[in-house]
């Protein structure tokens, strides 16, 4: 039994992805990420000198500013800021630039569902564009649980509203090891099983949640391929410039 989606996608199908980097001139790193009609612009400034109050000066500090499309930012935006900040903290190498602050500014251009995953992906690309040292990339996906127990990926706003529950999941990206297979096998295996962030809305059974996790993880392989393909050309270009 297949579930019908208004835009004719299959349950596992993601909306068309688009990503561009370095779109802003003044910021140190910037990216625009869109999934279907959802579009987010992220900019990164930093590392700037000094940390904010109540932050550990022995580590690099991150600051996330979320700008809604219209109106003042309220509680929801504050929550997104916190989630995003903690997610990005876990992928940045915080010991490299102690006592500095890196600001990540997220501007929502259009919200058509899966907003937070879109922002996580955009922020990640912007961090790479700014050259902030990262342990690995993070890829994010939204899984939706329909009332009949089916899981669909990357829902639109309309689908998000109709669904029983949905989960925003962030995974570390799947690693393409350049080391010989045997030596790094155990480590990459460990990472692929990791889950960085999980934010759920609505109630679901434990089995359903694990089902979501499985499907989400399977889909992130495609996302991280896309991410890698987008990030690679410039890395090569920079290498040739330096050489």
């Amino acid at each position: 039994m297949e579930i019908d989606r208004t835009d004719g996608r299959s349950p596992n199908q993601l909306r068309p992805l688009a990503c561009s980097r370095g779109i802003l001139h003044r910021s140190h790193g910037s990216a625009s990420w869109s999934q279907g009609d959802t579009r987010v612009i992220a900019a990164v400034y930093g590392p700037k000198a000094g940390t904010k109050k109540n932050e550990n000066p022995e580590r690099a500090c991150l600051e996330v500013i979320w700008k809604p499309k219209t109106g003042q930012s309220g509680k929801e935006e504050k929550e997104y800021e916190t989630i995003l900040k903690r997610t990005l903290q876990s992928i940045c190498i915080l010991t490299i630039n102690p006592n500095t602050t890196t600001s990540i500014i997220i501007q929502v251009v259009h919200d058509d569902g899966s907003l937070l995953p879109c922002a996580v992906n955009a922020a990640c690309v912007a961090l790479v564009d700014a050259g902030i040292p990262l342990k690995h990339l993070a890829v994010s996906i939204c899984c939706c649980l329909a009332t009949c127990g089916h899981v669909i990926l990357d829902p639109t706003k309309l689908e998000e509203e109709k669904m029983k529950a949905f989960a925003y999941l962030v995974f570390p990206n799947s690693i393409n090891s350049i080391l010989p297979e045997g030596s790094s096998h155990t480590k990459s295996k460990q990472l692929e099983d990791g889950l960085v962030t999980s934010v759920t809305h609505g109630g679901m059974s434990v089995e359903d949640y694990f089902h979501c996790l499985d499907r989400g993880r399977a889909a992130t392989a495609r996302l991280s391929d896309f991410l890698r393909k987008n990030l690679q050309p410039q890395v090569l270009g920079e290498g040739s410039k330096a050489g």
Partner: protein, 300 residues
């Protein structure tokens, strides 16, 4: 405070001297002539009333939204237009989030005066039921990239957003004809706003001693300029507002010359806005035909 100073962006004395010396020779560091405008691109978002303007390296997004509210007591049959500007910390390292700063407020006021107080938008057509319900239109302007001359870019973004904005149609119903029914966009085609004219802001920067005037300054030129003037004109050549807040004194003849240049630039820009809006509207009507077609196919 110390940290903030360290993080703020400062131009070196050499850079400033270079730009000044070049301007004295009539050269600009981006290769333009003194009275050239930078390349202007206007794009529209997925939905009505959203625009993205790029003026050289400056980038501004505008969103127009509306809601039904009660009118002010002294103007029971007029809708309202309000403009919200915020310098997002995305645009410039020295912009901080939180309360809008002095220059953000000035920017909003200049646009507000040019647009609202020159009565460019027909506010009476925004009235639904006198004294009870009017449409309040809100324009949010997000500065994404500060490449200088934010006023002009933000003003164009506001105009582009307003020209493509459509409010839902509504009618009066209920027992005593006093209830407002808002029709969803699927049921009845939303209505565009009535714009009487397009007030275009054109900004000049003045360089201190040598009375050099440049059009459309970049952020580098803004750092060395001695004064600035924004003239807002429409295609009829009438002046909607002029803003020159302090700075160096300028001879009257220079101001007259500026206004003449501004009038010709305003004509260029407004024809550009009209062209892109027309293209958008054509595309929009085509899109609707397609959508309708799909809907029919799905029913069968």
């Amino acid at each position: 405070m110390e940290q903030r100073l360290a993080n703020a962006w400062h131009m070196t004395v050499n850079e400033k001297k270079f730009i000044e010396a070049a301007l004295l020779l009539g050269l600009r560091n981006d290769g333009r002539n003194l009275y050239d405008y930078r390349k202007l691109t206007i794009k529209f978002g997925r939905e009505d009333g959203s625009s993205e303007v790029q003026l050289g390296q400056t980038r501004v997004m505008g969103f127009a939204t509306c809601k039904l509210v009660q009118p002010y007591r002294d103007r029971p049959n007029e809708g309202t237009i309000s403009i919200f500007t915020e310098f997002s910390p995305m645009a410039d390292p020295s912009f901080e989030s939180g309360r809008p700063g002095e220059s953000a407020v000035e920017l909003g006021r200049v646009i507000d005066r040019g647009l609202r107080e020159s009565r460019a938008v027909d506010v009476e057509s925004l009235c639904v039921l006198a004294g009870r319900f009017i449409w309040a239109v809100r324009i949010d302007l997000h500065i994404l990239d500060n490449g200088g001359n934010l006023v002009d870019a933000a003003n164009i973004a506001a105009l582009a957003a307003l020209s493509t904005f459509r409010r839902p149609e509504c009618s009066l119903g209920g027992e005593d004809n006093q209830e407002v029914i808002v029709h969803p966009p699927e049921a009845r085609e939303p209505l565009p706003l009535t714009l009487h004219h397009l007030p275009i802001a054109v900004t000049f920067a003045f360089l201190s001693e040598e009375s050099i005037v440049i059009l459309d300054p970049t952020h580098l030129e803004e750092a060395v300029m001695g004064g600035r003037m924004t003239a807002t004109l429409n295609t009829n050549g009438s002046i909607c507002s002029i803003q020159k807040a302090g700075g160096d004194g300028i001879p009257q003849s220079v101001i007259m010359q500026c206004i003449r240049i501004a009038a010709s630039k305003a004509a260029d820009i407004s024809s550009k806005i009209k062209d892109v809006v027309e293209a958008y509207n054509n595309e929009r009507s085509l899109r609707k035909i397609k959508r309708h077609h799909v809907g029919v196919a799905a029913k069968q």
